[in-house]
């Protein structure tokens, strides 16, 4: 088991070096999407439309964010991982068409995501749930 300190944008050869059991510390831009976000992204891509964020080399976080409005900005209350298998039906397309290099979630994913990871050079990682406070304190901006 090795430890890696990585930054976005992630390069394909770096991601391909990772092995099961490695620990990754990630700094950079992480985009969150869960069920509806995935559905919309895949729909937009299938119509040939552009997404508001260029995800190439970035990390995609299956997150359950709780945010509250403070004045004219949003403040994150907690942002924990959500069960990834629900996104299995979309993830192949997301990795292929959006160029996501790292998927962060919990509970693991299915064979289609594994195939996409192998084919296009991406990795699935697990962020243990239940440490919401810790994660919030490390958040730099929204």
């Amino acid at each position: 088991m090795a430890e890696y300190k990585l930054r976005t944008p992630l390069l394909e050869d770096v991601v391909r070096e990772l092995n099961v059991g490695d620990i990754v510390y990630l700094t950079g831009i992480v985009v969150t999407m869960r069920d509806t976000g995935h559905k919309r992204a895949v729909e937009l891509l299938s119509r040939g439309e552009k997404l508001p964020v260029d995800m190439r080399g970035l990390a995609l976080y299956h997150a359950g964010p709780v945010v509250r409005r403070v004045g004219d900005r949003w403040e994150v209350v907690v942002i924990g991982p959500t069960t990834s298998t629900r996104m299995e039906v979309y993830e192949y397309d997301v990795i292929e068409k959006m160029g996501v290099r790292m998927v962060i979630g919990k509970g693991g994913m299915g064979p289609k995501t594994a195939e996409a990871c192998k084919k296009f050079g991406a990795v699935y990682t697990v962020y243990p749930g239940g440490q919401l406070r810790c994660r919030r304190s490390r958040l730099r901006g929204l």
């Binding site: 359950g64 069960t83 509970g107 697990v126 243990p128 749930g129 239940g130």
Partner: protein
């Protein structure tokens, strides 16, 4: 609006309110089924162990497993859901049910999923079983799981309006 379940208890003059925050990941693995009565308790145990095995790391192990046995699936599910309110480590008052809980816990931890499916000795923190009387023709079983975070809060509201916090004792000092 959250779903609120009410239960009337004779002889008390307060309302006890418990909030249970449950995640979608641990809920999508919930299941219920009518077994053939001939399958008996062995069938129930098989069903529970299979439910945990097939849930894999999705419900955020180490989990709390709650089992309801009853005369139909809705009653079984109600008992299973209610079982999540019981604190970890508290056994059923009926020694036979308590033994069943311990047997199931041992079997489930034998699966070896460990925290978040990364492998380990503790797949479940506890197993709670409860049952309702049933007709010999039906044997319903329901299994509900909760992630290890298991966030719960209980308070009592007395007839005179006084509030007592049962789980978050520090709040009692702040209440006049």
């Amino acid at each position: 609006m959250p779903w609120i379940d009410w239960e009337l208890v004779e002889g008390i003059d307060y309302a006890e309110v418990t909030v249970l925050l449950k995640g979608g990941g641990s809920e999508i693995v919930a299941r219920a089924r009518n077994l053939v009565p001939a399958e008996g308790l062995k069938g129930v145990m098989k069903y529970v162990i299979e439910a945990v095995y097939e849930a894999g790391p999705r419900p955020c192990p180490p989990i709390i497993v709650s089992v309801g046995i009853g005369a139909n699936v809705s009653i079984a599910m109600k008992f299973a859901a209610k079982g999540l309110l019981r604190p970890v480590g508290v056994r059923h008052e009926d020694p036979e049910v308590a033994r069943l809980e311990e047997t199931l816990l041992q079997a489930i931890n034998g699966i070896g999923y460990g925290a978040h499916g990364m492998g380990g000795r503790v797949t479940a923190l506890d197993v709670h079983v409860d049952y309702a009387p049933r007709h010999p023709a039906t044997l319903s079983v329901a299994v509900v799981m909760n992630c290890w975070a298991a966030r719960r809060a209980t308070m009592r509201v007395y007839a005179d309006g006084r509030i007592e916090y049962i789980t978050h004792l520090h709040l009692n000092k702040e209440v006049v």
